[in-house]
Assembly symmetry: C2
Homo-oligomer: 265 residues x 2
């Protein structure tokens, strides 16, 4: 593995420590150059469905790590604790959002056999886009990235089905090809966009009203570019109603110690 | 999906039909340009272990498709039947090789809940190597590719553990970089080599005595180049002793209708 540099590592540890202490913030731009991950955790008897759903929908659900049942220590961040080290969590019961919390310890008390999946996040390649001088609008504005449920069905797996969720970044028309090329180098973290322009083609009626995250600001000469999003499993939870699930809150990711460069194709 | 051209499709269908009729042959070079796949099928209560083992060892076990329990019709080859359409199968009981057969129908009679995994195969990028003028020695000689158990442990998953298995191709020293580059374009089918030269570094004592396949012929000026191999799950079966498993016989793959180009990164 390509190791993190000490400054990056310090940033990642400081961020996780703040979140453990109760800070809630979107993580876009935090510890740039290190991988961030989506979380979905389910009781062990649902783990195969989730892993198979991910396998059949790899663009939306690229699996970075699967923890053993009950384990909360990710290999991607030694010393971390998945129960507390994300800034915000969502708890789901029978497919309904039952609450949002900054400390998910109770989930493991309730379900000691919880199996956690860490799934790649498009924040990973944002550092590459920014380095190439491509504006990351939601970061400039201090907002969360806008995310949308689409009308595109994912491949079902066992008891799970649902629609694809995408994140959107407005990109200047002259930089769209660069954004495709750069993000395409990271197939393990969503890779190239699934759709460029034409929100209606994805069944998105109003870009100004995202289903998750904050409203975007699209300027003249910019094109909306859509990437498969790790919130996709949350849409499957809503559609498929497992008795219990724990996820990160959209945009509030698990910050790891693993440099993005490890996921370059 | 990039569709196959009609001539390729005819070759793939003819090959599967011959195998269904009883022909046994290694499939390297058959229907060039179309993906070939390793098979491992286990009773449903072992499926999560296999899928997790693959997730944790993606170089060796890149999953192309997971069929639902009991299903024998692959989406990668409409009209196919996994029970009969591979040239040769191996049946495993408690980790021991219990027999080799050209017709695996009895496995599904015995275990109607068998879950089949199709795993990427390095034969996929051989067409790319050959197109670039890189010799594929085992094809030239009409032999099976040599495969070796290594001393490198895979990441364990649930009840499964075992060592990495590699395939080896002797490559002229001046073409090694090209072979790395070309195979690296196909991360979903083992990708770039895991090791170049120095067999002892993998724990391989004698290149002339492969654990699977046929002995190689290494000529002056050639370097042994090692790729992660889809026979790796068979080594895990031997080491982990599940009560039952069905696999392809090494080198005797499932020939699909899917062009290699679909797996270009």
């Amino acid at each position: 593995m390509i190791p993190p540099d000490p400054r990056q590592l310090e940033q990642a540890r400081a961020a996780r420590s703040s979140y453990r202490g109760g800070l809630v913030e979107p993580t876009s731009g935090v510890a740039p150059g290190l991988v961030q991950a989506n979380l979905i955790a389910v009781p062990a008897d649902w783990a195969y469905d989730v892993l198979l759903y991910a396998q059949r929908n790899p663009r939306a659900c690229p699996v970075l790590e699967v923890l053993d049942a009950g384990s909360v220590a990710s290999r991607m961040a030694p010393g971390s604790d998945l129960r507390t080290d994300l800034p915000a969590y969502r708890i789901w019961r029978d497919g309904e959002l039952a609450g949002e919390t900054a400390d998910a310890s109770s989930a493991w008390e309730e379900h000691p056999d919880l199996v956690s999946f860490l799934i790649g996040c498009s924040f990973t390649f944002e550092a590459g886009l920014a380095e190439a001088g491509i504006p990351i609008r939601h970061q400039e504005l201090g907002r969360n990235v806008p995310m949308y449920r689409t009308a595109r069905a994912c491949a079902p797996a066992g008891r799970l089905s649902g629609d694809l969720v995408v994140s959107m970044r407005p990109i200047p028309a002259g930089r769209v090809a660069d954004a495709v090329r750069i993000s395409g180098r990271y197939p393990a973290v969503h890779g190239a966009p699934v759709h460029v322009g034409d929100p209606a083609g994805l069944g998105i009626a109003d870009l100004g009203a995202p289903d998750f995250g904050d409203a975007p600001e699209i300027r003249d000469g910019e094109v909306p570019v859509f990437w498969a999003c790790g919130v996709t499993p949350q849409a499957a939870i809503v559609a498929s109603r497992p008795p219990f699930a724990l996820t990160h809150a959209p945009g509030h990711m698990f910050v790891t110690d693993v440099p993005d460069a490890n996921y370059l194709a």
